[in-house]
Amino acid sequence: MGTSRTEILGFLLLSSVFLMLIFSFLPEEYFGKKSQSPYLPPSPSNPLGTNDIGEDVLKNLLIGSRASLTIGILSALVATGIGTLIGVISGFFGGRIDEFCRSLTDLFLVIPGLPMMIVLAAYLGPSYFNVILVIGLLWWPATARIVRARAVQIANSAFVEGLIAIGAGRGYIVIKHILPNVYGVALSRFVLTVPSAIILEAGLSFIGLGDPRNPSWGTALHFALTRGALLHGAWWTFIPPGLCIAITSLAFLLIGFGIEKRYRESVKSMERSL
């Protein structure tokens, strides 16, 4: 099984996004000058024009990649972590614990994510940390369900019975056998959660609940809307950040699908070969 074409495309897109991240750390003088007049169209000195306060759009775009990527990846990490933990506990211990975890998962699944997030973000106040926490705490149920399914399969397998007969403790079995066996599903869930997190973060920033000290692509869209870029016809202020969000999400999705597919095939071939 080689790397599929979609995955290669995903990696290319992702590396271009990370290139943006690296360029965002270039010193000031490499970027277009701050201009006195707002909404200057693209020109040699400002390749993507300027925004409402005369800042270089390209510079903001590059800097925006920092917040978008960090929040996207960290909150996906939190969500996957919680989901994997709950899934493994639920699947391995079974019984009452399983019932409790499943009810909890169902409860979080029926909570309308975005409205809840808006309420929480507004209540907790706009900060980097809060956005990560809010997305992480609300976006784990799908992961928990998928991880649980695999954990149940492993927990009821012959080798775990054998391990119990050998005298292996529960903690030992979870750490040495269950977690490594759900790693594949958890990894693909992580990569697939990143785009959701990036889009959610953009959504929160777009309605003004992002961290203003760390502007992201969503923040750029927010200012484009509220400061009348649309009325001015200044397309260069909102199309590039929108595209960046779309491309980054697409990159993670393509890679995630690839990982998921490969994992499924490996599980299948494992089962078929016997």
Binding site: A158, F159, E161, I164, I166, G167, H177, N181
Partner: protein, 315 residues
């Protein structure tokens, strides 16, 4: 035989599984004992409760009722240390499955795992020696040990599973249909491997099977199970020469009427009414079979649970 030779005793073991709708009585008052070095077989069809009994004897499942006694000590009363010792002395080989060993681990590590869990070896060198010794006993090459489960054939994988179970040199090996789903040649190889290892290490074996030919070939004593109960037990030879319980004789004679007449039977070991579980398929069934049949001793270490053999000695 004196009583101190008995290693593992299951006394009136019962197991119920509760689902939302009903209670499944998978095992009802089954008593089993195994002596040092003995070869015992448990036969019965699927749903007869033999796997449940095997898992209880290995203490993977806890019995709902009854006692499991290892070397004179009730397992329910054992402390952690004693239970750990029990875990090294009684081993369980599960039914063959594609997840018989961790798919991510190399065979070598899986076989070494019991040694590592119990801290039985001082050094890597010693571990290697122990593993090579066991691997040799089971005809596993070094090349096999380097692979992962998916790169082994069914027979090789099952031998690796047995290697893992016997590396601690247990006193009792409980093998739950170790050969189901394998082809006949592989089956006999596996059985041969277990018996070969038994001779070298000297453990007792409890073999669970639905194949009478296997039971006949490798057991001294036989328990026949039906509907969650032990319906007959005794020396294998005696049972094969003169089966007493109608179910046993139908198994041995391959009586199609008795084996196939299943329409009235409740599924999967659920028997709501008291009385003999086998009466729906039994050609000797009478009115009194609706009450629980007596356990009747028939000579030397032989018991049958059936109304055909008269009234109970004592009620």
């Amino acid at each position: 035989m004196s009583s101190e030779e008995r290693i593992l005793i299951g006394c009136e073991l019962s197991k119920e599984f509760r689902t939302r709708k009903r209670i499944i009585r998978a095992l009802q008052r089954a008593s089993v004992e195994i002596r040092k070095g003995e070869r015992v077989a448990l036969v019965g069809e699927s749903g007869s409760g033999k796997t449940t009994l095997a898992k209880i004897l290995a203490y993977i499942l806890k019995p709902s009722e009854g006692r499991l006694v290892f070397r004179g000590k009730n397992l329910a009363e054992m402390d952690k240390r004693e239970l750990r010792i029990f875990r090294t002395k009684v081993q369980y080989v599960p039914q063959y499955s594609d997840l018989a060993l961790d798919p991510l681990w190399h065979i070598y590590d899986s076989i070494a795992e019991p040694l590592r869990i119990h801290g039985m070896v001082e050094s890597r060198q010693e571990e290697l020696e122990r593993i090579l010794e066991i691997a040799d006993l089971l005809n596993l090459s070094i090349d096999h040990l380097r692979r992962k489960p998916r790169d082994l054939s069914g027979g090789e994988l099952q031998r690796a599973v047995i290697a893992r179970a016997i590396i601690l040199k247990p006193e009792v090996l409980i093998a739950d249909e170790p050969t189901s789903m394998l082809d006949p040649v592989t089956q006999s190889r596996i059985i041969w491997a277990i018996m070969n290892a038994r001779e070298k290490i000297g453990f007792s074996t409890i073999l669970i099977t639905h194949e009478l030919s296997i039971a006949k070939a490798i057991s001294e004593r036989l328990y026949v199970m039906f509907g969650g109960r032990i319906v007959e037990f005794g020396f294998t030879e005696d049972i094969f020469t003169e089966p007493l319980h109608p179910y046993t004789s139908s198994l041995i004679e391959r009586d199609v009427y008795l084996l196939m007449n299943e329409e009235k039977i409740a599924e999967g070991g659920v028997f709501e009414s008291p009385g003999c579980e086998f009466r729906f398929r039994c050609r000797f069934a009478e009115e009194k079979c609706k009450t629980p049949p007596p356990e009747i001793r028939m000579g030397k270490k032989r018991t049958v649970r059936c109304w055909l053999y008269g009234e109970p000695d004592r009620v």
